[in-house]
């Protein structure tokens, strides 16, 4: 586009839905706070080796359970490891668990949801019953049972959380597909002879995206807590690798003489989960057509 046309159009070009959502999101301070914290956490996780002042798994018997000081900002744990460095590295396990498990849930749930909503009726009947059955088991209990049978490790915890979260995405996608498949543009796409899969991917999926994005953000918050819970129980990240959940587990035994061990990992989980919740809420409002502005 030439410069002149851009200037002419600048005032009256209709805003794309994505731009409008971003403008609305920017106006929400809480959501922006969440987004900034999430970006910071991702950077911390990526550059952990550059940020952490100490080796997160190196034990030091001369520095056992030291209170926070200039040398050890967050203090040390029961085997003399620097808590600040462990919190920094712990961000890797938490974020990876949040993102990968939700990635598994989306990769399984969205295609199945599309299939249920836009495929043959018998497929929908089967998938809906399986979704009901999976949603009938409380989230954490199902994740614990899966992790227990798969064996304790961070990878298995992520798989367990991912599978447990899958029905949420099947149901969401299916519901959205049912809502949009009767719209005129889908009908006309079908009338001109597009194959079903093409309609599903090209026309229906983009309309499901806003709700999906909101759900992904909120489910990452749930997954981060779930990973911390599994690690707390000993079913997630295995020692000596740092994870906020397992750090809280060992902190519990030293509450009387080293309470700082319990403060930081919990605060880290809280801030991470809060940020994803704030961003998710903000996205929901930003995409809501009933909201003005």
């Amino acid at each position: 586009m030439s410069g002149a046309t851009a200037i002419v159009n600048a005032g009256n070009v209709p805003e794309t839905p994505l731009r409008r959502a971003w403008r609305r999101l920017k106006a929400r301070k809480a959501a922006m706070f969440g987004l900034v914290v999430i970006i910071a956490l991702v950077l911390i996780a990526i550059f952990a080796p550059l940020i952490a002042p100490h080796d997160p798994i190196k034990q030091s018997w001369t520095a056992v359970r030291k209170a926070p000081s200039a040398l050890y900002w967050f203090g040390t744990d029961e085997v003399g490891r620097d808590l600040f460095s462990r919190i920094i590295y712990g961000a890797r396990a938490s974020l990876a668990a949040g993102v990968i498990s939700v990635g598994i849930a989306v990769a399984l749930g969205v295609p199945l949801g599309l299939l249920a909503g836009y495929g043959p009726r018998w497929v929908d009947a089967i998938l809906s019953r399986v979704t009901d059955a999976m949603l009938a088991s409380p989230f954490l209990i199902l994740a614990i049972a899966l992790a227990a049978f798969l064996g304790p490790s961070l990878t298995n915890a992520m798989i367990a959380i991912g599978i447990t979260a899958t029905p949420i995405f099947i149901r969401l996608t299916r519901g959205q597909v049912l809502a949009v498949k009767v719209e005129d543009y889908v009908e006309s796409a079908r009338a001109v002879g597009n194959p079903r899969w093409r309609i599903a991917v090209k026309h229906i999926l983009p309309n499901v995206m806003p709700q999906l994005l909101v759900q992904i953000t909120l489910t990452i918050a749930t997954a981060v807590i779930a990973e911390a819970s599994l690690s707390f129980l000993g079913l997630g990240q295995q020692p000596p690798s740092p994870s906020w959940g397992s750090m809280l587990n060992s902190a519990q035994r030293f509450l009387t003489n080293a309470p700082w061990m319990a403060i930081w990992p919990g605060l880290a989980i809280f801030i991470t989960v809060l940020s994803f919740n704030l961003l998710g809420d903000g996205l929901r409002d930003a995409f809501d057509p009933r909201e003005r502005g």
Partner: protein, 313 residues
């Protein structure tokens, strides 16, 4: 109404069957030979063979499922490998403890969540609304087990007011029972309170902007009466049904809370079973929680229809 209940029950049958298949299928995830795993330290081939026969592991999987589901229907959930007791007995012993905890948590959640949600809606846009929003976000974002540890630090280690762990039945000593369960119940109730606050706020906002509230105001009714008698009565219906569903979430939350406060309930049973590779107990607990959850869902549905005449057939 009876017809409706019957129809809803019929709809549940496939769900229940698939749930049972999933739970049975869990043991197929075990890497290696289940009989060898069940034998634990015992490496004697005869013992392993005996286990294989006893648990019908030598039969095809569908046959094993049929035997298993037959047992489940008659109340036989298998036997705990470690405790040498029927799983159903263990469940019957531990479930009341968790139910006590969950009920207390629900009461706490309702007492905090519902009034806070109402205040937040009535005072929308004010400092009160903001404070309630912050509290509800805190409730939703705080990991249960962290809050539990912080409370133990404050009330048990620092102030010495409450015991850090243990459980006393209310039938033995009600006061002591309250002292041992109040912290875990608060921890459990905290997150549900956050959810209830949000739902109450949303439902109240909707009710307050409805025509019947405008009519009530136009009639010149006192504002308190409009809020309490007109708006709240209608707003609370969905909140109550939602509360029933959240009860299932409490069963999940209890796993961690019981672990922290060493309460011998359902949650502790499944965690101990996981670490002792007592798979029959893990399956039993998941089965019973799922069944409870499905039942609560059904009751919530029927309750909703009962209080909402427009939904009746």
């Amino acid at each position: 109404m009876l017809l409706l209940i019957a129809r809803r029950l019929m709809q549940l049958i496939p769900t229940v069957i698939i749930v049972s298949m999933m739970i049975f299928g869990l043991q197929q995830l075990l890497p290696g030979d289940p009989a060898t795993i069940m034998a634990g330290e015992e490496r004697d081939p005869e013992v392993i063979e005996q286990i294989r026969k006893q648990y019908r592991l030598d039969q095809p999987i569908p046959v094993q499922y049929v035997y298993w589901i037959k047992g489940v229907v008659t109340g036989d959930l298998g036997e705990s490998m470690r405790l040498k007791e029927p799983v159903s007995t263990l469940v019957a012993q531990k479930l009341p403890v968790t139910l006590q905890l969950a009920t207390m948590a629900m009461i706490i959640a309702i007492f905090i969540g519902v009034p806070a949600g109402i205040v937040s809606a009535v005072k929308k846009g004010t400092v009160w609304d903001y404070v309630v929003n912050v509290i509800s976000l805190w409730g939703i974002s705080t990991p249960n087990f962290w809050l539990g540890i912080l409370l133990i630090f404050l009330f048990s280690v620092h102030l010495g007011w409450l015991p850090a762990s243990g459980y006393v039945s209310p039938f033995e000593d009600p006061w002591q029972s309250l002292k041992t369960t109040i912290m875990p119940a608060f921890v459990l109730g905290n997150s549900i309170a956050g959810v209830l606050m949000r739902h109450t706020r949303a439902a109240m906002l909707q009710a307050l902007s409805s025509d019947y509230v405008r009519t009530a105001r136009a009639k010149g009714l006192n504002e308190n009466r409009v809020i309490l008698a007109h708006a709240m009565r209608n707003a609370l219906t969905p909140v109550i049904t939602l509360g029933a569903l959240e009860f299932g979430t409490l069963l999940s939350g209890a796993v961690l809370t019981e672990q922290i406060f060493t309460i011998p309930g359902f949650g502790k049973l499944i965690v101990d079973a996981v670490f002792n590779r007592d798979y029959a107990v893990v399956q039993g607990v998941v089965l019973v929680t799922s069944a409870t959850y499905i039942l609560l869902n059904l009751l919530a549905d029927l309750g909703y229809i009962l209080v909402n005449p427009r939904l009746r057939p």
